[in-house]
């Protein structure tokens, strides 16, 4: 006796959160059943494995049918086939678009192309996330990217509007889109210590200050592309390290202000010129796409690592960076104060976030 056909359809679509999670995690029906059995559900409910199997199949089928709608969440709200209470709809969408930290770190900043998709096998092996789940997450990134890529208006708002995500998740997606569009390198070994949260934090600051949208809210791609003009202008900052007088003056201003306040004062004093050169050169190089991609590598190499090797405390870094950016205002010969603030304001935030073990 075999079940040839076995379905259950409710007027209100039944959603089992646990099974949904298993489905999202990419488990096959049999694996999902095994996992459910292990969770002790049989003992709690007195059900048999066959019942569990049938139940799991039903849910999987429902999710499979819902998946098409989840690709365009507003459709889920307006469709007539599945009657789902709004709170459940929100849950379905939110969970579907949720992603694994381990996975997102692997693809963050990569081109969301077929090539990357082929590498998902390796990512799956490396992260232990099922290939199916990897594909879903990748496709989500790509889908969101495609939809909002060339849209005007705030990136986060656009994502929220078209995918009905929570604010939190929409912000994360904004970061993913921003990184994918600018192809920031995040996979280098020395960047491995950074979490997605670190990058997302930086992305948000950069979107707020370094994109076209930061100056003009009425342009296409405003939040996705960096402000080219701004990047060009950054070359002007070079004078801060190229002009020896200016560099010395800057150093003395910072040292005077921080003397006695910094745990690593002598190290700072010895390293000031290197650090300053590093930071300013990063800015000056941003005209080239290649160097934009290496932004985070450069920041870590030129700033985070030297400081870390000298055992700067985070507070020391904060004090230094505050003073370092503020002191420029006292340099009379320097004319690009606004540019400096736009650059350094964001960079300071990023560096502080990036500075950890």
């Amino acid at each position: 006796m075999t079940n040839e056909l076995d379905i259950f359809v409710g007027n209100t679509t039944l959603i089992d959160e646990d099974v949904y999670r298993l489905w999202l995690d990419g488990y096959s029906v049999n694996d999902a059943v095994a996992l459910r059995v292990r969770s002790g559900i049989l003992e709690q409910t007195g059900a048999t494995a066959a019942v569990l199997q049938s139940d799991t199949m039903d849910h999987y089928r429902t999710f499979h049918m819902l998946e098409r709608l989840l690709h365009a969440p507003p459709k889920l709200l307006h469709q007539l086939i599945f009657q789902i209470p709004p709170s459940r709809q929100a849950l379905l969408i939110e969970r579907y678009y949720a992603f694994d930290e381990a996975f997102v770190r692997e693809v963050l900043g990569k081109k969301l192309s077929k090539g990357t998709k082929k590498d998902l096998d390796d990512i799956s092996t490396k992260t232990g996330i099922t290939l199916k789940s990897c594909r879903r997450q990748f496709d989500n990134f790509k889908r969101v990217f495609k939809v909002v890529e060339e849209m005007r208006g705030s990136l986060v708002d656009n994502i929220q509007q078209h995918f009905l995500l929570s604010d939190r998740l929409a912000r994360d997606y904004a970061a993913i889109v921003f990184f994918a569009n600018n192809r920031f390198e995040t996979g280098k070994k020395k960047l491995q210590y950074l979490s997605f949260g670190d990058f997302a934090f930086c992305a948000e600051l950069m979107i707020q200050n370094w994109t076209l949208g930061a100056v003009d809210s009425q342009v296409d791609d405003m939040d996705v592309d960096l402000d080219k003009e701004f990047l060009q202008d950054l070359k002007e900052l070079k004078v801060l390290v190229a002009d020896k007088d200016l560099l010395d003056l800057h150093k003395s201003l910072v040292c005077t202000a921080l003397r006695g306040k910094l745990g690593v004062f002598s190290e700072m004093e010895a390293n000031f010129k290197n650090l300053s050169r590093g930071l300013v050169n990063v800015a000056a190089k941003l005209t080239h796409n290649k160097d934009v991609r290496d932004l985070f590598v450069d920041l870590v190499e030129k700033f985070v690592e030297p400081c870390r090797s000298d055992h700067w405390a985070l507070n020391d870094v904060r004090l230094f960076l505050n003073q370092y950016s503020a002191s420029v205002h006292s340099l009379d010969g320097f004319r690009h104060q606004a540019l400096w603030d736009r650059y350094m304001g964001t960079l300071r935030g990023c560096l502080l976030r990036l500075y950890h073990d």
């Binding site: 006796m1 056909l5 076995d6 359809v9 039944l14 599945f82």
Partner: protein, 1062 residues
């Protein structure tokens, strides 16, 4: 009464991509009604077209309005090749035809394609302007309200319950026409969908005509089914109960405005039937001409032709007379007096009693209090027919005759039980190739005639105020004569009133009456059975089936009885026995809700007796089983909280003497009259029910008894409307459909293996349901409806539809609430004399031998001149079997004293509250439609929505869909295919209800789910037929807010019930 139909196509959304190049669609819409077609402009390159069309106007007859569906086709425009169809929407405009229902249909409808399923949605607005035209020869019946609900709809009051209406139309099945060889599956499916839609409309119109003729204004308990007979045709048939309903808000009882051509009708007064046994007349009866004044087939150009079962096999016995034919005696005389006085009252217009129904059947399962006087027991009849021997397959006559035969049998069974009416009546078929089993069943009952005639209601109402009756427990008392019992039963004095006799068990097909006193809770009881049958052709096959049927019925009955005893209960409600025929087997599935009625005696236990007492180990085994059974009974009693008060024997009085030898039933087969089987279906032994274990079969039976697992704690289940013993429902409901198909391995095809498989299938299905719905605990599965079909040799399909309702465990029983409901329904009560009448009547009425009808029938069948011998041979007469059924038919009903309390005062308040909710609801019902998000539409097989009040009935929903696929694997196999289809069907029902302005479907039923697959060809096809009543409901919590406002607009909004606009 012609009318103008106006249609506007507003917009579309989520359309599929039809042009791969642009990923867009150039959509336009064709709107078709009858033979007229309009088109919208093409809306280029959009998946969300905004047509905003003009109003398309169709000027049509109301006859067409009733028959035809509005057909909306969405197409993709193609300059160079033929336009591609995206999909269709059929809209039944019937709800717009009665004044009280919807006024406009407006909303988003899923665009449906039989191959691709739902493909986007379309926004449509439909209106109808009707012109009054008092053409007395009209063929339409606009204005007659239809309800699927098998009780008096909540916001109405029954003025008169007229009785049984039925109709049947036949047409060639498009799937079997020659043209089907050359057309696409899509074209074929659409032809079928459209045909069934047309036939349903026609059927409904014809039934409506009959209702008007009876001077009713509504059909309640309307059940429409279709039979796919294959080569011989497609039959759509319907039964229902004609009523005159009155909207509760209107102050006076309304009589239907005169709009029926009743003047043409002859008055047929109560027929003094000269022949007490009515079986002598066959289809060729001279009484045939006593039919309607119009012959409906007259003016129809359509192929389908109409039927009138008025080939009356029987002289008409007065239904209202409350008597079983001639035996009616004094009772009848009394009734006649009553009606006559009523007649005089009404100024001597004799036409009002134009025609008494020949079949005193009622499809209702719940009744206004006082309506049901006695319940006799279940009556059923089955008949095996051969479809390929229908002489004139395109005409309905043969089928009409078949059904008439069965109905006649049912009627005579009821009579044998001393009952003049059958309630909870239903009909069904099971078809396999050319063999068809027709079945009918119901509950024999004695009814209060007051509801069956008009003119008396007003006085009844007055009477109600005067009389303060003690509770009558009449309705659990036997309607037949205890000395001439039609079957053996153990009678005792009623445990409630101790005056009248009651049987030891009672089986019925109706819902538990609202005022019945029940101890503890009820539970779902099922009997399941399979029997192998040799594959055979034609007559041999039919004979084999008819030979098996009595044994199946017997075993099903035994199983039910055993299980009932095992549960410690004494009555079954909502009993439904389905016999399904397949190529090589027969399946029987009986479902019912067991309860403990306080008026009936405590059931005895089950005793096991071994046949070989000298075998020690065997003995031990038997005693072990016995212990297990006793434990189970004790456990069940605890589980269902059955603890009846102890009553000592003396109070009950001396036991009634056992009925004499006639408790043996004579049963025979019409084919083999020489072989007389004697079956004793009586299980009326006083103390215990003895099960003899003499072979392995019996062992199996005992085992299977014990394998039924009770639902997990927190769960209850029943197949009636509500669970006896639970009434503190909370508002969460979940209606669902579950379908399972199992494949039997051909190796293990023995009866036992088959039984086990089938049993496991049902049990596993129930277990799955309990598991799936565990988040709703504590909850009850209500109206659990199992349907079995045998789509292929080794496949068994079980379809279940039910609703899970949560209830509050802690909250005290809301007795007040139920009493309000009771009092609401209670239109009149009967006085004691009336209640007892039939009992007395029966004592002199029943002939000395209890089963003359069976015998007579045999004789009449063989000597029947109306049927040519050849034909008779083919249609295997299975009719006599039904007589046996009447034996296992048990009875009675109970009415408790306590329930009579507190009615009239509450009634007043409730009635006052209802109109204003209606008035105010209009204003609030508008917003949800305008809202862009999808409004929630509840669906339930019940006639009510817990925690809410139905304020308006918007019309009947009756939809038929076909879905086919040629890419089964790609759609997720059979399960994926059917899952999607069922979900789509729900969606389309909801969309139609929402477009009518409703927010729920009550009395929802999936009448058919025919699934066929061909995995080798990667194909599958499924047909689904659903129906229900679209309603507007208001949550009770909201209602309170509403009713605190001054009732200003209540009178305008509430149309008087009898006001039929035509």
């Amino acid at each position: 009464m012609p009318g103008k139909l106006k249609v506007k196509i507003v917009a579309g959304r989520h359309l599929p991509v039809m042009d791969r190049a642009s990923d867009l669609t150039d959509a336009f819409v064709e709107v078709k009604f009858g033979n007229t077609t309009f088109k919208t402009d093409v809306y280029l390159k959009s998946l969300n077209p905004q047509w905003n069309s003009e109003w398309f106007k169709f000027e049509v007859d109301d006859e067409d309005l009733q028959d035809e569906p509005l057909q909306i086709t969405v197409l993709d425009h193609d300059t160079y090749s033929a336009n591609d169809a995206i999909g269709k929407v059929y809209i039944d405009i019937d709800p717009l035809l009665y004044s009280e229902a919807a006024t406009v249909i407006s909303g988003w409808f899923p665009i449906y394609d039989t191959i691709h399923g739902i493909r986007g949605e379309i926004n449509v607005v439909v209106k109808v302007d009707l012109f009054n035209d008092l053409n007395r020869f009209r063929q339409s019946s606009c204005g007659v309200k239809f309800f699927c609900t098998t009780s008096i709809p909540k916001c109405y009051r029954a003025v008169i319950i007229h009785g049984f209406v039925e109709e049947l139309v036949v047409n060639e099945d498009p799937e079997y026409q020659w043209i089907d060889r050359i057309r696409t599956p899509r074209a074929s499916n659409e032809a079928r969908q459209r045909l069934i839609s047309l036939m349903s409309g026609e059927l409904q119109r014809k039934i409506g005509l009959k209702v008007l003729e009876m001077r009713g204004n509504a059909v309640v308990g309307y059940l429409q089914c279709f039979d796919l007979e294959g080569e011989s045709g497609l039959v759509v048939r319907a039964i229902g109960t004609a009523c005159t309903l009155d909207k509760l808000s209107s102050p006076a009882a309304f009589l239907p405005a005169c709009n029926s051509p009743s003047k043409d009708m002859k008055e047929i007064p109560f027929n003094e039937d000269p022949n007490p046994n009515t079986h002598s007349s066959g289809p060729s009866t001279p009484l045939k001409n006593q039919t309607y004044s119009f012959s409906p087939s007259k003016s129809y150009s359509r192929q389908s032709s109409s039927s009138d079962t008025d080939l009356s096999l029987t002289p008409k016995t007065g239904m209202g007379s409350g008597s079983a034919g001639k035996e009616g005696g004094p009772f009848k005389a009394l009734l006649r007096q009553q009606t006559q006085s009523a007649l005089e009252q009404r100024g001597g217009s004799p036409h009002r009693f134009c025609r008494r129904r020949e079949f005193p059947f009622f499809t209702l399962t719940a009744f206004p209090p006082g309506f049901l006087v006695h319940v006799g027991g279940v009556v059923s009849a089955r008949s095996v027919k051969l479809l390929d021997r229908i002489h004139n397959p395109d005409e309905p006559e043969t089928r009409d005759a078949w059904w008439a035969e069965i109905r006649q049998e049912i009627k005579s069974h009821a009579k044998a039980l001393g009952c003049h009416a059958v309630v909870g009546y239903s009909e069904s078929t099971s078809i396999c190739e050319e063999v068809c089993i027709l079945s009918a069943s119901g509950t024999a009952a004695v009814l209060n005639p007051r509801f069956l005639q008009d003119g008396t209601v007003e006085s009844c109402l007055e009477q109600r105020l005067e009389e303060n009756l003690p509770a009558g427990c009449g309705f659990c008392h036997i309607p037949y004569d205890e000395l001439n019992m039609p079957f053996p039963a153990h009678l005792t004095y009623c445990y409630n009133c101790r005056k009248q006799k009651v049987p030891d068990v009672l089986f019925t097909t109706i819902d538990l009456p609202i005022d019945a006193t029940v101890i503890g809770k009820g539970c779902l009881i099922q009997a399941r059975l399979c029997r192998l049958k040799k594959k055979a052709q034609a007559e041999a096959n039919a004979t084999a089936i008819s030979n098996l049927l009595p044994f199946m019925e017997y075993e099903v009955h035994t199983q039910l009885m055993n299980k009932l005893k095992l549960k410690g209960m004494n009555a079954l409600f909502g009993l439904r026995i389905q016999i399904t025929v397949g190529e090589n087997m027969l399946m029987g599935l009986a479902s019912a809700t067991g309860v403990y009625l306080a008026a009936l005696p405590t059931p005895g236990g089950i005793q096991i007796a071994g046949k070989t007492p000298n075998d020690g180990s065997y003995e031990q085994h038997v005693s072990h089983m016995q212990k297990k059974i006793n434990d189970t009974i004790a456990k069940n009693k605890e589980l269902y909280e059955i603890n009846p008060p102890e009553i000592s024997e003396e109070i009950i009085g001396s036991p009634i003497p056992e009925p004499r030898q006639r408790s043996r039933l004579l049963r025979s087969q019409s084919e083999s009259s020489d072989e007389v089987t004697e079956l004793d279906l009586s299980h009326g032994k006083k103390d215990a029910f003895v099960l003899e274990i003499d072979d392995t079969d019996a062992m199996e039976d005992v085992h299977s008894l014990l394998t039924d697992v009770p639902p997990p704690s927190g769960f209850y289940s029943c197949n009636t409307e509500i669970m006896p013993g639970i009434n503190n429902w909370t508002s969460e409901i979940q209606m669902f459909t579950s379908v399972r198909v199992i494949r039997l391995s051909s190796l293990n095809l023995t009866n036992q293996a088959l039984n086990k498989n089938f049993n496991d299938l049902c049990e596993n299905l129930l277990k799955s349901l309990y598991f799936k719905l565990r988040s709703m605990i504590p909850c009850c599965l209500c109206h659990v409806n199992f349907t079995v079909s045998l789509p292929e040799d080794e496949l068994i399909q079980v379809t279940v539809t039910a609703v899970a309702i949560t209830f509050d465990k802690n909250q005290a029983l809301q007795t007040t609430k139920t009493q309000v409901e009771k009092s609401l329904q209670r239109a009149s009560t009967d006085n004691e004399e009336l209640l007892q009448f039939p009992l007395e009547l029966c004592s002199d009425s029943l002939p000395s031998h209890p089963f003359p009808p069976a015998k007579e029938h045999l004789e009449s069948a063989s000597s029947n001149s109306g049927i040519p011998a050849a034909q008779r041979a083919t249609s295997v007469d299975y009719s006599s079997f039904a007589d046996r059924c009447s034996s296992w038919i048990e009875l009675i009903k109970l009415k408790a004293q306590t329930i009579r309390r507190g009615s009239i005062k509450t009634t007043v308040t409730v009635e006052k509250a209802s109109p204003m909710s209606e008035g105010n609801f209009r204003n609030r019902s508008a917003p949800p439609c305008a809202n862009s998000t999808v409004g929630v539409v509840k669906m339930t097989p019940l006639s009510f929505i817990p925690g809410a009040k139905i304020t308006k009935y918007l019309g009947i929903i009756n939809m038929f869909f076909i879905r086919e696929t040629t890419s089964l694997r790609e759609e997720g196999g059979v399960s994926g295919f059917l899952h999607a289809f069922v979900a789509e069907v729900f969606a389309m029902v909801r969309a139609h209800v929402a477009a009518l302005g409703g927010n729920a479907v009550v009395s929802y039923i999936m009448k058919q789910c025919v699934f066929m697959e061909n995995p080798n060809k990667n194909q599958a096809q499924c047909l689904i037929n659903v129906s229900g009543d679209a309603v507007i409901f208001v949550r009770e919590s909201e209602l309170e807010v509403v009713s605190s406002q001054p009732p200003t607009a209540n009178c305008q909004s509430s149309c008087p019930g009898g006001d039929v606009t035509t």
